[in-house]
């Protein structure tokens, strides 16, 4: 039916969209959302490969990726809230305290 490469190309496009978002956007929340897009692109690859090989291992890795994504979102959003409290801004260019 549908070739494996089609799924992988969808995954590659999604990953590139996520990378573009991380590079281009000047808003910390949107940057975190772009990272979620990249994680989901990788999940799609895992499941497509797992289906091709006929094992459930790909799906199990996806569960772990989802857990890591949840942990990353919790800690990342906590950092965003903490930063916003200090600078009243979500622009990553506003946080230059460690730049020299």
């Amino acid at each position: 039916m549908i070739p494996l490469s089609h799924y992988l190309i969808v995954s590659a496009v999604l990953f590139s969209i996520g990378t573009t978002g991380v590079f281009l956007r000047r808003n910390l929340i949107t940057v975190l959302l772009s990272i979620e897009i990249m994680l989901n692109a990788v999940n799609l690859s895992f499941i497509a490969f797992g289906r091709t090989h006929g094992t459930v291992d790909g799906q199990i890795i996806v569960f772990f990726v989802m857990t890591v994504a949840a942990a990353e979102a919790a800690v990342g959003l906590a950092i965003v809230i903490s930063l916003f409290r200090h600078r009243e801004s979500l622009n990553p260019d506003a946080f230059t305290a460690l730049r020299w």
Binding site: I2, S5, V10, L24, I29, T30
Partner: protein
Amino acid sequence: MPETLQFYLFAALAIGASALVIGQRNPMHSVLLLIASFGALAGLYVLLDAPFVAVAQIIIYAGAIMVLFLFVVMLLNAPQEDAHKDPFALVRQSGLTRVGAVLALLLLLQLSWALLSVSGLAGPVDAGGDAAVVSSVPELGRVLFTDYMFAFEATSVLILVAMVGAVVLAGRRENEE
């Protein structure tokens, strides 16, 4: 072929919604569009005989994680990006940012080239393996709690660390005020 049609429908939905996530100025719209993108990806997972992951995707990703994002967007109440209200601000940004965009495009070209040049990917995705095995939840649970037992336990520690970290980072300290 309905399955081919479904694949292209879900793939177009996922890619289109994700591209719009990047394009929105309002983070609220971005989060809602990302939920749509995750829904389309769940459809792709169903096509790949992974119904349990599709349901987990809807419940955990679109449900829990995105609600967390929505909550923070509403809490911070800073909907617009700091930049001026220029619809083409993304295109005419500083030089370094433009380099980033070119790099992302290069990444896409490189990935596509790599995928097209590797042989053995052109076969149908459901050629090998039994759909009944891949989509069976008991099999999933068996492998998760035998082969991946250590990773599963490590994940619980990871969640605990993330929980403590989030409380420490975002919690307001009384002695600082």
